[in-house]
Structures are given as structure tokens and as C-alpha cells.
């Protein structure tokens, strides 16, 4: 049964995608492997974070994992969005920019980020940063209005915003699950952050 499934599944045609990031071809090769191998790779990458690898190795693993996970939801985002997002990830996890004491982006936090992106569908990509514990931070800034969201494991997010509404500066913060995020942000006209500039 498995052999039949394996023989009929179609490999991803990489020619559909523009060159997106320095590891693009390697990721495409990995994606074309069978699902079990991909799963095993994810396990290996996860395990490597726990061992005493060099910071370069840990960053490389974390970056590869983030790109693989992003590629797995490629149907939800445009090629350009993904390509530029990969470039942001490259910069964030460049060893030249990374403090050795900081933990590389964790899989659980990055999964929450991807699910948030799919859920709120922002036309504008966020700026990205990270915490010392390996949580990724997404931020949108429009003039002096700012929205910052730390992605926690298990679909939880910690958000803080500051914006001017009807001439008055408002600040707010909280921690919610992804399913509640849009609801709690809705009083603040999130289009100011998420919509592309005309």
C-alpha cells in the first residue's frame, strides 16, 4: 500500500518557484523526499538543538527548519511574500547578527507564527525579531503606531500595541490564543498595520 502511494505521488516542480533564499534548492530536494524522511529530518533537527552543536550549526538547522515549515504552507502565501520572508529569516539567523547566548528560533514558536500568518492573512509582512528564549517576534509599524506579537508555543501569542485613535494615544497588551487574536485586536483598526500601502 505504501509503495503504491509513494510511486503515484508527484514530486514538487521547483520550476514554479523563483529562487527564494540561499537554501532554496536544498529545501526543494528535501521536500521531494517521502513524508517519513521529512519527519525523520525534523526529529534530527530538533535533537540537534538540544546537543552541544556550534552556534553556526544550530542556526543553520533552525533556519532550514523554518524554511521547510514555511514551504509546507506555500499554498497560503504568494511566491513574492515567501521569497522576501526567507530573506528576512536569512538576516535574522545570520551568525554575524546572532548573540551566542540567545537560543535559535524554536520550532514551536515558528509554527505559531505561521499559523498566525495564515489566520490573519496580513498583506504586509511583519518585521521579525526574537527573544533570548527562541520565540520569534512579529512587528508591524506604521508611523508611530506599532503592533508587536511574540509567538509562544501551542498557538499562544503575547501582544502589545500603541496607536493613535481619534487623536488619542492608546496602548494595550495581552496574551491570547490565536483564535482570539483578531477579536482582541479588532477595536484598533488593524488595517493600519496589515494592509499594503496604496
Amino acid at each position: 500500500m505504501y509503495l503504491k502511494l509513494a510511486s503515484t505521488s508527484q514530486p514538487v516542480n521547483t520550476s514554479f518557484y523563483p529562487d527564494t533564499g540561499k537554501d532554496f534548492h536544498q529545501i526543494s530536494t528535501i521536500k521531494n523526499k517521502r513524508p517519513q524522511e521529512l519527519s525523520q529530518l525534523s526529529g534530527i533537527v530538533k535533537k540537534s538543538h538540544e546537543n552541544t552543536y556550534t552556534i553556526e550549526e544550530r542556526l543553520y538547522d533552525a533556519l532550514a527548519l523554518c524554511k521547510i515549515k514555511t514551504s509546507s504552507v506555500a499554498m497560503h502565501i504568494t511566491n513574492e511574500w515567501r521569497s522576501r520572508f526567507f530573506s528576512q529569516l536569512d538576516n535574522l539567523m545570520d551568525v554575524e547578527n546572532w548573540e551566542e547566548d540567545d537560543k535559535p528560533i524554536t520550532e514551536s514558536s515558528f509554527t505559531t507564527l505561521l499559523r498566525m500568518i495564515i489566520y490573519i492573512k496580513p498583506a504586509r509582512r511583519p518585521g521579525i525579531g526574537s527573544t533570548s528564549k527562541g520565540n520569534i517576534i512579529a512587528s508591524w509599524t506604521k508611523d508611530t503606531d506599532r503592533l508587536t506579537i511574540e509567538c509562544l508555543p501551542d498557538d499562544r501569542v503575547r501582544w502589545v500595541l500603541s496607536c493613535i485613535t481619534d487623536g488619542v494615544r492608546e496602548t494595550a497588551a495581552g496574551e491570547v490564543t490565536l483564535t482570539r487574536l483578531q477579536k482582541v485586536l479588532s477595536p484598533y483598526d488593524t488595517d493600519r498595520w496589515f494592509a499594503n500601502e496604496a
Binding site: R84, S87, Q88, N91, L92, E96, N97, W98, E99, D101, D102, R124, R125, P126, G127, I128, G129, S130, T131, S132, I137, S139, T141, R146, T148, E150, R158, V160, S162, T171, A172, A173
Partner: protein, 167 residues
């Protein structure tokens, strides 16, 4: 006030830093606020969160160095570089002591302490020396995301990029 080797002010350990003085803190690249095209546009509140095991935030006292203000910044950054390999895309956050304290007091009714804390360091070659300009910022609540965001964008939000300071 006595000037010794370009140093203008020397405070005893735990002396409060005067309200009209300034402090400067290193901000790693992943804690800088960026736009969607990776342009650096500010500082994330995360930059002022204590790490596990830290009791206070570290910073340097600008007025420890001789004026003018721009020279003080350059001296403070060079002092930092003596013991830490600052990343090219990192930054330094500068704030006035009274503004930082007042923000915590007004917004959260929290009194924070910014005190001199000369610290023994090792330079990049491993030689010991004393960082006389080091200060501790005590009692900023690390779990208050809103307050940290406010500090990062207002009272302690003046950003100088590492690469803007000559080697």
C-alpha cells in the same frame, strides 16, 4: 568635578546616577525593531527584559565620559567594545535617567533604581580591567510587556547604530 584621563565623573558603587544624566545599553540585532524590508526602525521591548539569572539590567553611564554628548556616546561604545564583540548590525539605546524613572513611576507606580556599579571585566584578549562606567538598572518588571514597549519607544528609545560609531 575632576577630569582624569578623559573621565569626567567617577561615582562610588551604588551611588544613584543623577537624573539629568544618560545611560546607554547594548541592543543585539534580533532585538531591534525592523520593517518588512529589514530596515532598522527602532527597538523592541524585549531588549529591556532580564535574562534568566539576571538581577538587574546592565548599561553604561554616558556622563562618566568627557563632553560633548557625541563624544560621550563614542567613548561609551568603545568602552563596551573592549570586553564584548558587538555585532555590526547591533545598536545602542540611550535614555535620560529622569525620563526612564518617571515612565516607570507614572505608568506603573514603580520606583526603579539606576546606580553606579563599577564592574571587573576582561577585555577581548583576556586581560582584566574595571569598567567604571557600568550601571545597574534595578526593579524594572521584566514581565510587563507594555512598559518595556513604552521604554523601548520613548524614554529609553534613542537608538545609535554600532556601525555608526568609528572603530
Amino acid at each position: 568635578m575632576t577630569q582624569i584621563d578623559g573621565l569626567l565623573m567617577k561615582l562610588r558603587k551604588n551611588s544613584p546616577i543623577p537624573d539629568n544624566n544618560h545611560i546607554i545599553r547594548y541592543i543585539s540585532p534580533n532585538k531591534l525593531r525592523k520593517d518588512e524590508n529589514d530596515n532598522i526602525i527602532g527597538i523592541l521591548g524585549e531588549a529591556f527584559k532580564l535574562r534568566d539569572g539576571e538581577a538587574s539590567l546592565s548599561a553604561n553611564h554616558l556622563e562618566h565620559f568627557s563632553e560633548p554628548h557625541n563624544e560621550q556616546i563614542t567613548h561609551a561604545v568603545k568602552e563596551f567594545r573592549k570586553h564584548f564583540n558587538a555585532k555590526p548590525n547591533a545598536g545602542f539605546a540611550i535614555g535620560q535617567v529622569c525620563d526612564i524613572k518617571q515612565t516607570c513611576l507614572t505608568e506603573r507606580n514603580i520606583k526603579i533604581y539606576i546606580v553606579s556599579s563599577p564592574t571587573k571585566k576582561y577585555d577581548l584578549e583576556g586581560n582584566p580591567y574595571k569598567n567604571e562606567s557600568h550601571v545597574d538598572v534595578k526593579s524594572i518588571p521584566s514581565d510587563d510587556t507594555g512598559l518595556l514597549d513604552l521604554l523601548a519607544n520613548e524614554a529609553w528609545g534613542h537608538l545609535v547604530l554600532n556601525k555608526a560609531i568609528p572603530i
